[in-house]
């Protein structure tokens, strides 16, 4: 098994309209599934595209297995599988033909090998029965699986999947996760998402991207452990939410079977009717975002 490495150094992207999408992102990744978690608009897609050489950063460098891929994007393209956040396909072209086409564009020049791989991928993604159908007629889940098939063509050492499960039903999502985890061990897979479960289900390593910055980067396990015993739960009347928000470090508030349950962060039991919770990744995520926004406010003041 080949050990791959992806190093991002100080990636900064400012769009011509002035939006500062990435503010000096640095990361180092090795083989395995890596979850990039962040809210919508955090800059995830920009970062993914930048890595995929679909955009160039204003500053910063990217090394893949030691090669600067901003200067030499072909090196990256040759080893990359990329599933964009959303994609369309040519009308009236079948799944098999489209896979073949992209396979050629990826450099699989040997006809037999190409046929074998395309067949294998169709099989793996459970699309073999539909291989003669136009991709444009596929349902959302099928389309995402087809996207993974596209990403897996050739010999990818880095796979980037950008928000792959958005809009999939639980069954489809599950199937998709299985697919990813099968391939995720020997190469780098970056899973960019705003859905916490995707990361907690799949990724041994993760980072949280918020507002163009990496806010934290560790394994989900460690992160959860760090917060163990500091998260408390209480069922409240919903009118009191504001009150709690100002008096406590509120992590989240949600409705469970019609009741409002809040999670707060505190070193000790913050009051009556607060119960300790077993920390979930979700708590880490929301807490991190919360902390960052508080820090920002303080700076602003």
């Amino acid at each position: 098994m080949h050990m791959n490495s992806l190093v991002l150094q100080n990636i900064t992207k400012i769009y011509p309209n002035g939006v500062n999408a990435l503010k000096g992102v640095s990361l180092e990744l090795g083989n395995g599934m890596f979850g990039l978690l962040g809210p919508n608009g955090a800059g995830k897609s920009t970062l993914m595209r930048t890595i995929a050489a679909l955009q160039s950063p204003n500053e910063g460098r990217i090394f893949f297995n030691g090669t600067d891929t901003i200067r030499n994007p072909q090196f990256m393209r040759n080893k990359l599988g990329y599933l964009p956040q959303e994609f369309g396909v040519y009308p009236k072209i079948s799944a098999q033909d489209l896979l073949n086409h992209i396979a050629v564009l990826k450099g699989i020049l040997n006809n037999t090998e190409r046929r074998k791989q395309v067949e294998g991928l169709l099989n793996q993604t459970n699309l073999y029965a539909h291989r003669k159908k136009a991709v444009s007629s596929f349902s959302g889940g099928m389309r995402q699986r087809f996207g993974i098939a596209l990403a897996l063509l050739g010999n990818p050492q880095l796979i980037i999947v950008d928000e792959p499960t958005a809009g999939l039903d639980p069954e489809e999502r599950n199937r998709f996760h299985n697919l990813l985890s099968e391939i995720g061990e020997q190469i780098i897979v970056i899973l960019s998402t705003h859905i916490v479960e995707d990361v907690s289900d799949l990724c041994p390593q993760m980072a949280i991207l918020n507002d163009g910055e990496i806010v934290c980067r560790d394994s989900p396990k460690t992160l959860m452990k760090q917060m163990q015993g500091k998260v408390w739960r209480k069922t409240i009347r919903k009118e009191l939410l504001n009150q709690y928000e100002s008096s406590h470090l509120l992590i989240s508030s949600k409705l469970v079977m019609g009741e409002r349950i809040i999670h707060v962060y505190a070193n000790e039991k913050p009051g009556e009717d607060f119960y300790p919770v077993s920390v979930q990744l979700e708590d880490v995520y929301f807490h991190t975002l919360k902390l960052q926004s508080i820090r920002k406010e303080e700076v602003a003041c």
Partner: protein, 1195 residues
């Protein structure tokens, strides 16, 4: 609700760039159209007629504007994938559709207002002539806006709305727009719509029909106004009645119905439904299937390039050729080119059908295709380059390692295949047509090379369009920029925008600079050379553009140009840099050569340079106009023609005679500007001032040149042309088929007004006086014949030695003395047998010759070997014309007669007559199919006309003055008509005269009209067309014999060496030799402008006891003219007009000339058979606008 939606809609439209592009386009168009469009001498720029003209014509152009606006409005949701969103919001279908449709329609109308603004700007701009400005009337604009803009735009919007609803595809809307436009033009062309017809006016029935069914009402406008006088054009608004009203109502209701229909078929369905694939969860359990394994990839070798290129190309072709829109485009092209080709080989009102040759058909394709090709490229380049992005396949595609070159090249090849396919199909139709007609062999080489001529400019333009679409990160702006560039560098319109130099117009179609020159003699001539150079330059530019496109290729989401520019160097690489350098050097070298060839070898002039030259020429030298000059009485010249090198040299001498009564101290010698004078010398004289720029030399005699003294002058000059600057029609020395009106280029004395600025509008702009009144009037000449040189023919004797390439033959006027081959040149000597006008022409080509003798005259026909088919018909016509003229007018003057075909590189005449020689252009006559007895035999007519000039113009040679042309062209028209009538009968002659009458009536309304006997040289509709009618009427009045006897007398009294005649000399004999009762009519014919309106009304029939029939009827005669101010002046009636009665089986049962003395006449006619109808003026002798009421059926 609707108001809000509509407001939203309009705000959307007005915020779009495309709206402003269209609006500014309209502004510009209106401005240019008014400033540089149609100009009528006595009609104001803002006359209601001109406004109607502009608004009706431009409503064709508005098709494009609406197309753009409608596409962006009607398909907006689809473009932005918002249709689910919009389609689920609770707007009802009514609000949705109404707001969308009205939004597009109102936006289009608003943009159209800019056209009117542009027109107004032009009218009130300082560039505009102030004395052509009528008072401003809002009604003039409003009424025409209401008549044309509103219904036409409604029609187009409705059609596009329908298409958009049916197909829901942007390209379909574009093509729909294009189809409406081209379909309209094509159908108009095909059906001979009046607003398109130029040489061949439509028949009255065709006009009436077109007026009713023309969807844009342009034909209706023409039908209503075609005979309007300048006064009416300045004052009258169109009247909504008759055909026009019917037409507008028809299309208005059609539009409304179409909108209602579209509304009814629209549903909130998505155009492309995504079906949930059935059986999706069905898992294929098949053990034999492969499982996924990674596999090796190779992305560095050529094989990767080749394979990825072909895979991309396959996708590209798939997306282009499997679309419905492409089929539509192709269908449209086939339809248009088919119609164009078929109408090319149709017969017309003036001529029979042509003999179909490859050259003719290819010229048609070359005329029609470029516009198609360029628009195809503009649209498809935008569509295909932005396609991946539009369907959101861009990231998946761009993330693969396939190189930019492979992507670029696949787009390029895919795109260029569209116009190439169109060319092949066009040629295919042409070949099929040729096979079907089987007139001549198929010239495969010509068809082959036409692919290069048609395709290469598009290859270049495509490369540039790709660069534009790559640089500009927006499809529509890119399209607009490409389109604008197309206008500048790739279309003949570039001169309108001030781009004149060929170097900047390198991608222009072949025909732009070749002036439609194709000849069976000469092919495309040397023009191919200049074209090849431009294409070579274009090729380097194309490579340059493609390499840069590769470097700046939008890959992924990076469409920020600055970002891409920064990477140029890295992406280019070594190879790219080398290619850039290579193509850059190529551009420098080829453009250097072209610049050298145009600006250095030739004398390059812009249009304004030329105008300035002619202006200064006139200002500086016109004062010498009346300076007494010597006359040339003898000419000896050696002319060496070098056809393949496109130049010739002349060495010669004149014998000069001072025919004035005073000694001359100085003379002014001039030379035509397209000639280089090498040397000249006049005995005993020296040049005291040489002005080479304007070609004038002031020469002083050492001792005065005395009256009746003779002096000798020698001279030497040369002339030629370069394919870069083009040839002159009358100085066409070409590889094969040369024709030179060579005496125009010989040195001359005094001021030559033929090089003056001729366009009256330009003259006004330049502050020069009007030119049209310059010919001497009858009165001036009568009072002072001496001053106008009117009493001397000034004929010369000449001797010419002409040499040409050894395989060519030379034909010049005069007697052929000798012909020999010397030093590998074919050398001829010609000599005049009797004095002739100083008017010489030379032809040189590889000819085949038909020779015969008849009544002691040697006859020759020189023709291109492939034009054999009509030679026997030509021979027949020549003998017929010879017999008619010699029997009726007097002997033919020369011992031989030569009929010579010359190439179409010459223009400006069909045929032209010189002493003993007639030169005839190949395109008209020799190449027509004369086998259809019902069609006009243009060859016969032309020969008759030109042969008559051996008398009228040859023997009778009036001086340039008022009415002189009546004695040359008028009499030639008359003789032609007589010979034609003898050969082909009354019916065809009648039809031919109808065409002449229509030409006359149509063209006369543009300015104050002269009566025939005062006509000058700028009114062919009077000198030719009216003459034909007038002389025919005269012949009907006094009889052919009597008229011919008068003409014979004119010849005896006035031909050389006697005093040249004026038109009054002719009229004097005419009055003398005819009965007094005809004099009034003769005066009407020649000295007045008269139009008739005659009609028969209220015919009643009674059966008499002897079973004959008595007809009572009322005949109304109106005889009038309209003066400049639109006032109608009635003339007294003393006319002989024929009345005919027809029986049921179309037999003439009564035909008699009646004399009328007043407007309303009761007439009784008795006939033996049962009458069917009564016709007044059945032969159409009278000049009459409305002939429909001349015939009435008997009740």
């Amino acid at each position: 609700m609707l108001g809000k939606l509509l407001f939203f809609e309009l705000r959307f439209q007005f915020r779009k760039l495309i709206f402003w592009v269209v609006a500014l386009g309209f502004l510009f168009f209106g401005f240019m159209l008014t400033l540089y469009g149609l100009k009528l001498p006595d009609v104001n720029t803002n006359a209601p007629y001109m406004i109607a003209y502009s608004l009706s014509l431009s409503s064709i152009g508005c098709v494009f504007a609406i197309t753009f606006l409608a596409a962006s409005s009607l398909l907006r949701d689809q473009d932005h994938q918002m249709q689910e969103l919009v389609f689920v919001t609770p707007i009802t279908k009514f609000y949705f559709l109404t707001s969308r449709f009205l939004g597009a329609f109102i936006a289009a109308l608003s943009a159209y207002i800019f056209l009117i603004a542009g027109m107004l700007l032009a009218v009130y701009s300082p560039l505009q002539d102030a004395d052509k400005l009528g008072s401003f009337q809002l009604m003039n604009y409003g009424w025409n806006f209401f008549l044309f803009a509103l219904p036409n735009m409604l029609l187009v919007s409705a059609l596009l709305f329908f298409i958009a609803t049916l197909i829901r595809n942007r390209m379909a809307i574009y093509l729909g727009g294009l189809a409406i436009y081209i379909g309209y033009i094509a159908v108009s062309l095909f059906s001979g719509a009046p607003w398109m017809a130029n040489i061949n006016p439509p028949s009255a029935e065709a006009m009436a029909l077109a007026a009713k069914i023309d969807p844009f009402g342009i034909s209706s406008f023409y039908a209503q106004t075609r005979y309007w006088s300048a006064y009416e054009q300045n004052t009258k608004l169109l009247v909504l009645e008759g055909s026009f009203l019917l037409n507008r109502l028809l299309y208005f209701s059609f539009s409304i119905l179409l909108i209602l229909f579209t509304y009814s078929i629209f549903s909130f369905r998505k155009s492309k439904t995504i079906h949930k694939a059935d059986g999706e969860n069905k898992v294929v359990k098949n053990q034999q299937l492969q499982s996924y394994q990674s596999t090796t990839t190779t992305i560095t070798n050529f094989r990767f390039f080749r394979k990825s290129f072909f895979s991309l190309l396959k996708i590209e072709l798939h997306s282009i050729y499997k679309s419905f829109t492409f089929l539509l485009l192709l269908g449209l092209w086939l339809f248009v080119i088919g119609i164009e080709l078929f109408s090319e080989v149709q017969e017309h009102t003036r001529t029979s059908a042509i003999l179909v040759t490859s050259g003719q058909l290819i010229m048609t394709i070359m005329d029609v295709f470029p516009v198609f090709g360029i628009l195809t490229i503009v649209f498809y380049a935008g569509e295909q380059l932005w396609r991946n992005k539009l369907i959101k396949f861009d990231e998946l595609n761009d993330v693969t390692p396939a190189t930019n070159y492979a992507r670029l090249l696949s787009k390029f090849i895919g795109l260029i295949s569209i116009p190439l396919l169109m060319i092949f199909l066009g040629n295919g139709i042409a070949i099929a047509l040729q096979l079907y007609k089987a007139h001549s062999a198929i010239e495969w080489g010509l068809y082959g090379i036409s692919v290069y001529y048609l395709g290469m400019p598009l290859v270049i333009f495509l490369a540039i369009s790709i660069l534009v679409q790559t640089i500009i990160p927006s499809k529509y702006v890119g399209m607009a920029v490409s389109f604008f560039l197309a206008l500048l560098i790739a279309s003949p319109l570039s001169t309108l925008m001030g781009v004149e130099h060929q170097l900047l117009r390198f991608a222009n179609p072949f025909t732009t600079f070749a002036h439609d020159s194709y000849s069976d003699f000469n092919g495309f001539g040397q023009y191919t050379q200049a074209f090849n150079w431009r294409m070579l330059l274009g090729l380097f530019i194309a490579i340059f553009a493609l390499v840069l496109s590769n470097a700046w290729w939008i890959r992924g989401k990076e469409n920020n140009l600055k970002q891409r520019l920064m990477q140029t160097e890295r992406v280019l690489g070594k190879k790219g840099k080398r290619l850039i350098l290579f193509s850059f050097i190529g551009i420098l070298m080829t453009s250097g050569y072209i610049f050298y060839a145009i600006n250095w070898v030739e004398h390059y002039e812009t249009r304004s340079d030329k105008i300035r030259w002619t202006k200064n020429y006139e200002l500086l030298y016109k004062p010498f106009k009346d300076k007494p000059q010597p006359h040339i009485t003898e000419l000896n010249a050696t002319i060496d023609l070098y056809p393949t090198e496109n130049w010739y040299e002349v060495k010669g001498n004149y014998l000069l005679d001072n025919k004035t009564d005073k000694p001359l101290d100085t003379v002014l010698l001039g030379i035509h500007r397209s000639v280089i004078l090498k040397d000249f010398a006049i005995d005993g004289a020296t040049v005291i001032r040489a002005d080479e720029k304007y070609g004038y030399y002031l020469v002083a005699f050492d001792r005065p040149f005395l009256p009746n003294e003779n002096l000798k002058m020698t001279f030497q000059f040369e002339s030629g042309w370069s394919p870069f600057t083009g040839h002159e029609a009358f100085n066409a020395i070409v590889d094969n088929g040369s024709f030179l009106r060579i005496s125009n280029y010989f040195p001359f004395f005094g001021y030559d007004d033929s090089q003056e600025l001729k366009s009256e509008d330009l003259r006004k702009e330049e502050g020069l006086p009007e030119r049209k009144e310059q010919i001497p009037t009858l009165e001036e000449v009568a009072q002072n014949p001496q001053e106008y040189d009117a009493d001397d023919y000034h004929f010369i004797d000449f001797q010419l030695k002409i040499s040409t390439d050894v395989d060519q033959q030379v034909i010049a006027p005069g007697q052929l003395i000798s012909e020999e081959i010397r030093e590998n040149r074919h050398v001829y000597s010609f000599k005049s047998t009797n004095p002739v006008p100083f008017r010489l022409a030379v032809a040189s080509a590889r000819y085949e010759v038909q020779k015969w003798s008849y009544k002691e005259i040697d006859f020759f026909i020189y023709y291109h070997p492939s034009h054999k088919i009509n030679i026997s018909s030509a021979k027949e016509a020549i003998i017929h014309a010879f017999d008619y003229c010699t029997e009726n007018f007097g002997p033919y003057q020369y011992k031989s007669f030569r009929y010579v075909e010359v190439s179409d590189f010459t223009s400006g005449f069909v045929a032209t007559s010189y002493p003993g020689v007639i030169y005839h252009r190949e395109g008209i006559g020799f190449t027509h199919d004369l086998s259809n007895a019902a069609a006009q035999n243009v060859l016969y007519k032309t020969i008759a006309h030109e042969f008559a000039h051996q008398w009228w113009g040859g023997q009778l040679h009036p001086k340039q003055m008022e009415g002189a042309i009546v004695l040359t062209e008028g009499l030639a028209q008359y003789t032609e008509t007589m010979i034609y009538e003898q050969a082909f009968g009354k019916e065809l002659t009648h039809k031919a005269l109808e065409v002449e009458m229509d030409s006359y009536l149509r063209d006369r309304n543009f300015k104050e009209e002269m009566p025939l006997f005062r006509v000058g040289y700028v009114d062919p509709h009077i000198a030719y067309s009216k003459s034909a009618k007038v002389f025919y009427a005269l012949k009907e009045l006094i009889g052919e014999k009597a008229l011919n006897a008068i003409l014979k007398e004119l010849l005896i009294d006035f031909s050389f060496p006697q005093v040249p005649p004026t038109v009054n000399d002719f009229l004097t004999i005419l009055y003398e030799k005819t009965e007094e009762q005809y004099h009034e009519t003769i005066t009407d014919l020649f000295k007045r402008v008269v139009v008739y309106d005659v009609s028969v009304e209220g015919v009643s029939m009674s059966v008499l006891p002897d079973s004959t029939f008595e007809l009572n009827m009322e005949v109304k005669i109106s005889k009038y003219r309209q003066d400049k101010n639109g006032k109608t002046i009635e003339y007294p009636i003393h006319d002989h007009i024929e009345i005919a009665v027809m029986s049921g089986d179309k037999q003439v049962i009564y035909l008699k000339s009646h004399r009328f003395e007043r407007m309303n006449n009761q007439i009784t006619i008795k006939v033996g058979e049962k009458p069917q109808s009564v016709i007044i003026d059945p032969m159409g002798i009278l000049i009459e606008e409305d002939q429909i009421n001349n015939k009435v059926d008997v009740q």
